[in-house]
Symmetry: C2
Subunit: 406 residues, 2 copies
Amino acid sequence: MLVVQKYGGTSVGTVERIGEVAKRCIATQAQGHQVVVIASAMAGETNRLLGLAKQIDDAPPPEMERELDVIAATGEQVSVGLLSLAIHKAGGRAQSFLGSQVRIITDSAFTRARIKSIDAASIHDALKAGKIAVVAGFQGTDEDGNITTLGRGGSDTSGVAIAAALKADVCEIYSDVDGVYTTDPNLCPNARKIERVSYEEMLELSSLGAKVLQIRSVEFAMKYGVKIHVRSSFNQNPGTWVVPEEAQMEDVLVAGVTAARDEAKVTLLGVPDQPGIAAQIFRPLSEANIVVDMIIQNVSDAGRTDMTFTVPRGDLRRAVELVRRSLPEMAEAGIKTDDHIAKVSVVGVGMRSHAGVALRMFELLAKEAINIQMISTSEIKISVVVDAKYAELAVRALHDGFGLGS
Amino acid sequence: MLVVQKYGGTSVGTVERIGEVAKRCIATQAQGHQVVVIASAMAGETNRLLGLAKQIDDAPPPEMERELDVIAATGEQVSVGLLSLAIHKAGGRAQSFLGSQVRIITDSAFTRARIKSIDAASIHDALKAGKIAVVAGFQGTDEDGNITTLGRGGSDTSGVAIAAALKADVCEIYSDVDGVYTTDPNLCPNARKIERVSYEEMLELSSLGAKVLQIRSVEFAMKYGVKIHVRSSFNQNPGTWVVPEEAQMEDVLVAGVTAARDEAKVTLLGVPDQPGIAAQIFRPLSEANIVVDMIIQNVSDAGRTDMTFTVPRGDLRRAVELVRRSLPEMAEAGIKTDDHIAKVSVVGVGMRSHAGVALRMFELLAKEAINIQMISTSEIKISVVVDAKYAELAVRALHDGFGLGS
């Protein structure tokens, strides 16, 4: 097999940890596999580097983002050098590769570049020579040879992209978390590690998965059919497989329950119910890069309607300002905000083929006397907005009610 | 003018210092010059990086030196990114370049590579666009795209090599020292900053110059006729110019006095005086990369001769072992060592055309009752080995005796 292993910052956070990772790489190779390793920067290093930049200019203009990438990319460069040394010290053979050396070509969107192509030839050469190829995550190079980075958590995407380019059998993503759980174990002590989850579910479980897997990497894996195995580098336990949807996945109605507490709600009372009004409200928000998550519009009454939407909590003030500007005739009293909300979701591909999941969810919440403020559904997810103080209670009620506990 | 400015580790040791360097670069450009800046790693950074590597493997084998370079090269990469940001923040325009991006092609001797060629096109493009080009020192890339480094102090060589490739009018070398002095000011408070010194003198003054200028960079400058101006980045004072020999330089008999305390002496008593014996002794030392500095052989007596040579103090034990092995018939008592010696030298191109410098030197030392153990001369240098405890006294006597004080 060709195995791609991606190790996160805590997994390579100290020279001791790097030594452990080296042993794991060698053990994998000793099982007869070809091994390609993607390394993140040592934990805290990217923040240290960007902190230096911030001391010089705390808000560098876009034309200076090129230089931020020059600085930030060094974190992974150090890691691959150290890990190669450690593999050699532990008796293996290794060669490091930078983004530019494996021609991970990206666009020129510095600090958030997207991968366009990878030339896997040099990696294949190293593998054929019996070496473990150690590739710097997070970084690439544009067509002009400028260093680029893929944005926070970009090493996951590097790993999946390289796995896709090499047609690897699996992309193992190592961190200090040993998989994706049915819900946050801090909320539900009986939360269970999910064995297998589909790409679509993983995307919807983002708030659970964000700590272990960058969402862009899941999109990438889905597009190229890369099988991901989310595991802990601190033990040998099997983790969670993120794979194409399988028939038996539909037997499980709900795969997981998530809670997001980072949104705020804006309600507009008595909006004129006329064509084009929604576009008038949301265009400025979109232009300001404010991500609107849920939108609800009730049926109108006497030519007026109420509209509610959620935005990231940090964008709330700016969002309200923009709405005021686009609806100047709107009375001040007509704009209400609430940042004490939580979005609780149940996710599962099983609900595509089974009715009644939403009803069961509402019943479970009602039994706990939790009022539902907003509802939004997709094919494989149902989300409700509730008062933030009920978030934990709602998660526990749903997790147990859908029988997810171990 | 096209000005190349190279800043050492202390000159870019903090973000504040980097800000000061940025202002100096911009001020130089504002005088109507084109400016190329070579930056070292922030003071202490290269040691920190190699310290991490050492924690993993305290004696990496030669085949792992490639990875040491991958790690060490990040120090300069961070510096050029930060300095570019700082130049922009201070109102200038800048672009960073890595060794690979200006195609500083070296051989593949990792950790001590030598520059073969530089493609100055991209730097010229940046200069034409009105930018300050900020180039990472110390690093290059071999023909296969592997990262290489030039060895300790290699940023000086980077600066001079880039100045040569660009046909720059001057290569300014900035550090925390404001020039080359007639001797160590810690020994002689009246030591004087030398205004102009020839390449040849600078090479011989290495023990004075090593702190401010890597010797290899002087050889490079001599070869390509690059004018070097050694200056402090902490003030605006003119420093020392290192230039081709000029006629008036011969008016000065002695340019400087140096003392080196890092050598040890090996004396072999009663060596068989036969053809090939010297080669037999020194071949193993050469093969072990032990640099033998001075060698003295007295006239022979009854088929036996005495031989004395000096080696770096750290290599003394190994040197003695090697000599024992190559002269197994040599009695143990016949090998004497002394690591309490100092080599004191006077340097100056003027002695080429003036006799009597050696005599004057011996007289000055005799007046202080300092016994001379060994003597070695070159065209522009006379060195003597004395007991280490007389080193300071000898330097002061020679410095004052040759009228070098201010």
